[in-house]
Amino acid sequence: MKQLMGVINLDHELDVLSELTYFRCGAAVPFAGRYRLIDFVMSNMMHSGVEDIALFVRRKYRSLLDHLGEGGPWDLDRKRGGLFILPPDWNDPSDVSVGELQHIYNNQNFFARGPAQYIIHSGSQHLSSVDFSEAYEYHIKQGADVTLIYTKAEELLPEHRPCVRLDVNEEGIVTDIHHEHDNTNIYMDMFIMEKELFLQLMKQCIAHQESHVFRDAIQKNRHKLKIAGYEYQGYHAVINSLESYYRNSLDLLEQEKYQSLFSAQPVLTKIKYEVPAKYLESADVRHSLVANGCQIDGTVENSVLFRGVKVKEGARIHNSIIMQKCVIEENAVLENVILDKDVVITAGRKLQGDTRKPYVVAKDMVI
């Protein structure tokens, strides 16, 4: 799909997953046993045929650089185009742009060089399996200036609170954009716009010292632009708090959710050459997601185990998320706990959090 180029803008995303975002940005937080949150939007773009992606990052992007590399897993290590990770390094003395628009102003070459005529602009917090090429066709059919992708929430959850809401009429045209909390049309932080119009709006915003792409270019101009609303139906989760991270992780243990996220198309991620998971003599694993490289000799229930986790004999894990390479020694007990990477829980320790407020252990700790 040469028509679409991707912009993944992480600038306005806050690092709000407590210990999990001490050293990494939200987009780099591990999810579902072997992914990072950014993999979902990256994979959706890849499956929609997007061949140029710019990634605007501001801070804590070290682990993101390591994870994405040249973009090989998403087929973005290309001779022409591909993945451009664009850190905040700019030195133009005549630059007057502020906020997010600094990225646009200082990376005009990316937009100028890409052959695509349209831009798909997205964040990383809305997990979905949206097909951008379908949304693009809808955009063309509607003859809209901009198409906002939204989903109808079946049930309003705490993580929906900060989300932008849309009023959409029967023709699929967005009539208003606001934050009214009882509206169930959740804007998924993804829009499609023609490149020329996008750059023109950006120029205007920069000239007026505006700082926010969506709010200042689209929301403020909502009565001047023809804005279409593309309704996405399918798996959707917003990860913008520790609570939403924890609940949505464990929700994947429901078979329906797991299928709807993974069965349509593969989600791609950086490859680790791990051996298949191994279950030993006294393993008792139920209702859990387990990644490769795990070695389990204890009890695991209602939990997510990332790659290379070791659970020794007699250890018990309930309602917990255990990240890469953690070691849970003999007879340790974990309940409602999130362990970041490389944590060691020594024999016999007991850690317990609350079902709504999990106990989080930061990377590399030995307890």
Partner: protein
């Protein structure tokens, strides 16, 4: 171009007839092993981990799967600017010959490939065995002994020795005789099919072998005896560790079962010696509330609702509710229905096992391993008796 110290030539053209329908549409080195691997991952990863960056893979029988699997070799870190992995199928020549007539002939036909790199040594490997080996250590030994040829050997029992190519050596491992499957073995050092040659020496003997009208173009039968006859320096390199020929359904099954103990002899979880493989991009495996999994290896993308004990599940396998899988190897994307019993079987890729089917029972622990595939559909219906 800088001279290469060593170039590896991997013989991957074998059919592996005794693996029956598992090799109907692919060569033996492409057969699945260990929940995620193909046999060829082992020699390729060994090369990569040993610092060998130039590998020719000689293919002949059913090469499609193998060729597309290897690709440009990036999974084994063998996509290199200078060197890398090359697939070398036989080709038609001016004199009308086309197929590789034997292991030595396959190398002879690719003289030009090797000459491009002008290596000091050539490592000959086969794509039939499961083992982890540092070829660089063997190369040090080969150089230290100033050997013309070094053959890696493994100590086997006297009974097993009758099934292998056996090397009779002096106390210092200098080889004086090679015997193919001797009835009365004089030694228990079995050739592992891993040879290191000085390139100039190998080149000369390959050319010399052409003058022998009765040659079978084989390393073991022709080249090695020829070199021994001329008093060349041949050494055996004693290998310690796990090594298994997975040439039959029984041995393939055994090698898979060997992985299930708590500390298997073949450690696949060693970060210093990773076995690389093409990753099928599957989500984390799902173990359902009613599932029971013990003593097994399960790959990503599996969904288990039943009971799995002492078995190996490749990626994307589904085990339905009430089904019981024991002592079995289930290859990729097999869908097992509900209330199925599978005992001592290898189920080949993509099979769909209907609800209630019974394959093997706990009683026949001495029975042959069942192979369940499209091809054995006749046997399959005999072995699979749908319950009422």
């Amino acid at each position: 171009m800088k001279r290469k110290k060593v170039v590896a030539m991997l013989l991957a053209g074998g059919q592996g007839k005794r693996l029956k329908s598992l090799t109907r549409t692919l060569a033996k080195p492409a057969v699945y092993f260990g929940g995620t691997y193909r046999i060829i991952d082992f020699p390729l990863s060994n090369c990569s981990n040993s610092g060998i960056d130039t590998v020719g893979v000689l293919t002949q029988y059913e090469p499609l799967v193998l060729h597309s699997y290897i690709g440009v070799g990036s999974d084994w870190d063998l996509d290199r600017k200078n060197g890398g992995v090359f697939v070398l199928p036989p080709y038609e020549r001016e004199d009308g010959t086309s197929w590789y007539r034997g292991t030595a002939d396959a190398i002879y036909r690719n003289l030009k490939f090797i000459e491009q790199y002008n290596p000091e040594h050539v490592l000959i490997l086969s794509g039939d065995h499961i083992y982890k080996m540092n070829y660089d250590t063997m190369l040090d030994y080969h150089i230290e002994k100033n050997a013309d040829c070094t053959i890696s050997v493994i100590d086997v029992t006297p009974e097993e020795a009758t099934r292998f190519g056996i090397l009779n050596t002096e106390e210092d491992y200098r080889i004086y005789e090679f015997e193919e499957k001797p009835a009365q073995p004089k030694s228990t050092l079995a050739s592992m099919g891993v040879y290191l040659f000085k390139w100039e020496m190998l080149r000369n003997y390959l050319l010399m072998n052409l003058n022998n009208p009765d040659t079978s173009h084989d390393f073991g039968k022709d080249i090695i005896p020829l070199m021994l006859g001329e008093d060349r320096t041949l050494y055996a390199y004693p290998f310690q560790g796990y090594w298994k020929d997975v040439g039959t359904i029984q041995s393939l099954w055994e090698a898979n079962m060997d992985l299930l103990s708590e500390n298997p002899k073949l450690d696949l979880n060693d970060p210093r010696w990773r076995i690389y493989t093409r990753n099928p991009n599957q989500p984390a495996q799902y173990i359902a509330p009613e599932a029971k999994v013990r003593n097994c290896m399960i790959n990503e993308g599996c969904q288990v609702y039943g009971e799995v004990d002492h078995s190996v599940l490749f990626y994307g396998v589904e085990v339905g509710q009430g089904s019981v899988i024991t002592d079995s190897v289930i290859m990729p994307k097999v869908k097992i229905g509900r209330n199925v019993t599978i005992h001592r079987a290898i189920v080949s890729e993509g099979m769909v096992i209907p609800d209630g089917a019974v394959i093997g029972t706990d009683q026949d622990n001495d029975q042959e391993i069942s192979l369940i595939s499209e091809d054995e559909i006749g046997n399959f219906s005999a072995k699979v008796s749908p319950s009422l």
